[in-house]
C-alpha cells in the first residue's frame, strides 16, 4: 500500500505549460472565431455578418480545389514515405559503429528549415542547371519545367517532400525495431520463419504504435505544408500547387479578407482536429487492448 500523502500539487507543475498554451493557442483561436463572424475593414470599422463568411468559404471554388489538392498531395506523399521509411529502417544496422553515422546522415534533411528545403529543390528542379531537371530533360528526354507545367511541379514537390520527411518515419521505425526483444527473433529462427513472416508477424505488429505516431505527425505536417511549395512554385503554375495554407494566407494577407480567412481557418482547424482525434483514439485504444491482453 502506498502511504505517501495525496496532494494536488502536481497541477501547479502543469501551470506554465497550460499558460503557454492559453496565450499561443487558445487566445488567438478565440480571436479567429470572433473575426470569422465579421467583415473587418479597419480596426475601427467592423461589422457583424453572421454566418455569411462561412457560407462564402464553403462555396468558394478556390477553397474547395485547394482542399482537394491538399488531400491528394498528403495521400501521395504519405503513401510513399511510410513504406519507404519502414524499408529504410529495416536495412539499417542495429548497433555497431556504423549505426550512429547512418543515423546522423539520415537526420540531416530534418534539420534543414522548410524554406531552405524549398530553395534546394527550386535549384535541383531547374531544367537548365538543376540536377533533377536537367537529367529528366536531357537524359530521359521528357519535357520538364516546374514553372510552366503542372505535372512537373507536382513531381518536384512530391520528391522534395519525400526527401525531407522519409527520414522521420525511418528514425521512428528504427527506434521501434530496436525495441523488439531478441527472443522474438530467436523464436522465429527456431520455427524457421521466412524473412517476410518475421516482418509480417513480429516487426509490423510491434511497430504499430510508432507507425501510428509517425503517420499522425506526417499527416499534420503535410496538411499544413506552406513554405517549401511556396518557395519552389509559389502555388503555380496557375494555382495547380496551391495547397490549403497558401490559399488561406492569400485570402488573409494578400486580399485582406480577415473575416473570410477566419472562417476558412476555423474549418481548416476542424478537419485537423477530427483526424488528430481519430489518431489519438486509435493510439490510446491500442494501448488499452495491449494492457488487457497482457
Amino acid at each position: 500500500m502506498d502511504s505517501r500523502p495525496y496532494t494536488n500539487m502536481a497541477w501547479l507543475l502543469v501551470l506554465p505549460a497550460a499558460l503557454l498554451l492559453v496565450f499561443n493557442a487558445l487566445v488567438p483561436f478565440i480571436a479567429v472565431i470572433n473575426y470569422s463572424f465579421q467583415h473587418i475593414y479597419s480596426p475601427q470599422a467592423h461589422l457583424f455578418v453572421g454566418w455569411q463568411n462561412f457560407e462564402e468559404v464553403m462555396h468558394d471554388p478556390e477553397v474547395i480545389h485547394s482542399l482537394f489538392r491538399q488531400v491528394i498531395f498528403t495521400a501521395i506523399t504519405l503513401g510513399i514515405e511510410m513504406p519507404l521509411g519502414v524499408a529504410v529502417a529495416l536495412t539499417m544496422p542495429r548497433g555497431g559503429r556504423w549505426s550512429g553515422i547512418i543515423l546522423v546522415f539520415l537526420a540531416l534533411p530534418l534539420m534543414v528549415p522548410w524554406n531552405v528545403v524549398g530553395f534546394i529543390w527550386e535549384v535541383m528542379g531547374r531544367g537548365d542547371i538543376g540536377l533533377l531537371g536537367k537529367f529528366i530533360n536531357d537524359v530521359l528526354h521528357i519535357n520538364f519545367n516546374y514553372a510552366t507545367n503542372g505535372p512537373s511541379a507536382w513531381f518536384t514537390l512530391i520528391i522534395m517532400d519525400v526527401w525531407h520527411w522519409t527520414a522521420l518515419v525511418a528514425l521512428l521505425a528504427y527506434a521501434g525495431l530496436c525495441a523488439i526483444p531478441g527472443a522474438f527473433y530467436q523464436a522465429a529462427r527456431i520455427d524457421a520463419a521466412s524473412r517476410w513472416a518475421v516482418f509480417r508477424f513480429i516487426e509490423l505488429p510491434k511497430l504499430k504504435g510508432v507507425l501510428t505516431i509517425a503517420l499522425l505527425l506526417r499527416f499534420i505536417y503535410s496538411f499544413k505544408i506552406y513554405a517549401a511549395p511556396f518557395t519552389v512554385t509559389g502555388g503555380g503554375p496557375g494555382d495547380s500547387t496551391t495547397f490549403l495554407s497558401q490559399a488561406l494566407s492569400t485570402l488573409a494577407i494578400n486580399q485582406l479578407e480577415v473575416g473570410e480567412a477566419g472562417a476558412y481557418g476555423t474549418l481548416y482547424f476542424l478537419i485537423i482536429l477530427l483526424i488528430s482525434y481519430l489518431f489519438y483514439v486509435v493510439l490510446t485504444r491500442s494501448g488499452v487492448s495491449n494492457e488487457e491482453s497482457a
Binding site: 487566445v27 480571436a31 470572433n34 463572424f37 465579421q38 476542424l270 482525434y277
Partner: protein
C-alpha cells in the same frame, strides 16, 4: 477593456465561449461530486469517460453546424436546441 479590443468580441461569440467555459466548470464540479466511470454507452461504439463524450459531442456538433450552414438554407437559430439536445444526449447516454 483596451487590452482585448484587438479580439473584436461579439455578444454571440462571447456567449458561446462563456457557455463552453461554464460547461467545463460544471463538468469539473460534477466529476468532483461523482467521478465518471469508463463505460460503453448506446451511441459511441467504444468505452468513453464523461469528458470524452463531451469532447465528441462538441466536435460532432461543429460538423453538424458545418453541414447545416453549407447545405441547408434555413435559419441557424434552430441549431441551438439541436446542440443542447445532442450534447446532453451524448454526455448522458452516449
Amino acid at each position: 477593456m483596451h487590452w482585448i479590443s484587438w479580439m473584436y468580441w461579439l455578444l454571440p461569440t462571447a456567449l458561446f465561449f462563456g457557455g463552453i467555459a461554464l460547461l467545463l466548470v460544471c463538468m469539473g464540479i460534477w466529476e468532483a461530486v461523482s467521478p465518471t466511470n469508463f463505460r460503453q454507452g448506446y451511441i459511441i461504439p467504444m468505452k468513453t469517460t464523461r469528458g470524452d463524450r463531451l469532447f465528441i459531442s462538441l466536435l460532432s456538433m461543429a460538423y453538424i453546424t458545418w453541414l447545416w450552414v453549407g447545405v441547408i438554407p434555413l435559419t441557424k437559430l434552430i441549431l441551438i436546441p439541436i446542440a443542447v439536445v445532442w450534447i446532453a444526449t451524448l454526455v448522458l447516454i452516449g
